[in-house]
Subunit: 137 residues, 4 copies
């Protein structure tokens, strides 16, 4: 999808549906996380590499916009990009696609924190450089 360099496929689980017959609204934040982890896996060492370096990431804000209902067994593609990095904070943007249609979109804001003190810390330059390289690719 235009504007997104990283994506990952996903098939809707039955347990993700609710009694309206559609995917429950909270599940999209689970999917956003799956996309985010896929992105972070492309950074040096992946998520575990960040934790090993003493960096942890907290979620500060989350937003989802539901355009069309998703149903059991739908084949989706989760698209993700880093939208902005500013000091300790950075934003991921997401689009959920089904057969070429965007059925949902959203964003989350995160903060890098020192894994022991939990204090906000700037994103290390090499991570930021890798993100820039991914987004410009």
């Amino acid at each position: 999808m235009e504007g997104f360099r990283v994506s990952t496929p996903l098939t809707v689980r039955f347990s993700e549906t609710d009694a309206q017959g559609i995917v429950h609204n909270a599940v999209y934040l689970v999917w956003f996380e799956i996309a985010r982890i896929e992105y972070i896996a492309r950074l040096p060492g992946g998520y575990k590499g960040m934790v090993d370096r003493g960096i942890d990431v907290t979620t500060v804000e989350a937003h989802a916009r539901y355009r069309a209902a998703c149903r059991f067994d739908d084949d989706l593609v989760l698209h993700v990009r880093v939208g902005e990095v500013r000091g300790p904070r950075f934003r991921f943007d997401y689009a959920v696609e089904r057969s070429g249609e965007v059925v949902a979109e959203g964003w989350t804001v995160h903060a890098c924190v020192d894994a022991t003190t939990l204090r906000p810390m700037r994103m290390p330059d090499d991570l930021r450089a890798t993100i820039d390289a991914i987004e410009r690719s």
Copy 2:
């Protein structure tokens, strides 16, 4: 809590935590729904009454802001109000409180739809009147 007329208590379940030792970010949307249903229960006939009248409600947008981490067994109070009603759309606002501190807040936008055609429909006047009465109480 000031500005909120409806609230419901909640104790954090162990299954709601994740490997960071805190409540997973998607769970807050589940809590918002619990608060919303508590609110709707005060409308004539409650949620089932709305469905019986041929009205269903879809979720259009959701937003959460995480201020402080919640942990297993935390005693919380979910606060909820209707922030705005405009045609078929209405917004719920939420605050999650722990010992007087707001640990999270958020909002969701919903649309009233005809339960059979799924077309958007204005919120019926009596529902809106009940909401106004709750919010002015």
Copy 3:
């Protein structure tokens, strides 16, 4: 309910239903845990007290038998008892009741482990004595 000394009420969440319109089968294990934690809360210091003493509890086995479907907003009562304690292992039994009818039942087997070495350890005598006192009450 006969044979159960500890119980806790629960209202079915909308997010616990699936596209069959009923509660998803995995959710019952979440409910069993809620009942189990309610039981453990009656032991000296509760769950956190056990962890503070260096005892952790792992789940070894889980079983659920679904007798009648549960639906959104159903008012249930979760009943729980300790069925057996043998060395490091102990079993919880559960019954899920709706208006006097048992709609589900199950059991889980757990092991006490040393929280640092994760080695199995016998349940401390005072915990066992409290359990005996609860079950004989």
Copy 4:
């Protein structure tokens, strides 16, 4: 894995972990369902085909045995087979494998029901024949 003809890969989601740092015990029933649906997808018309024919499937019983803890990002393989078919009832067996080790196993019992009357019905002969063919392959 010996004795299993159908399997599907799975990577542990972060949201599937709990504050013990491991996968929550209820999640295994979600995984069993994913494996079961993968199996049913090999039957004529898949799950939707069954529903279209007026057959629905209810879950009667579920059992899980946890051998070793699973963690975030673990790469697993879910193995599934039909263990027994008797009248309306049939049993699925599961094994969860990580790098050649069985970390969990379990089984579920289901009943075929008429989708409109919800009465138990024998599994149709062609479904049963397909299952036999899969298991003998």
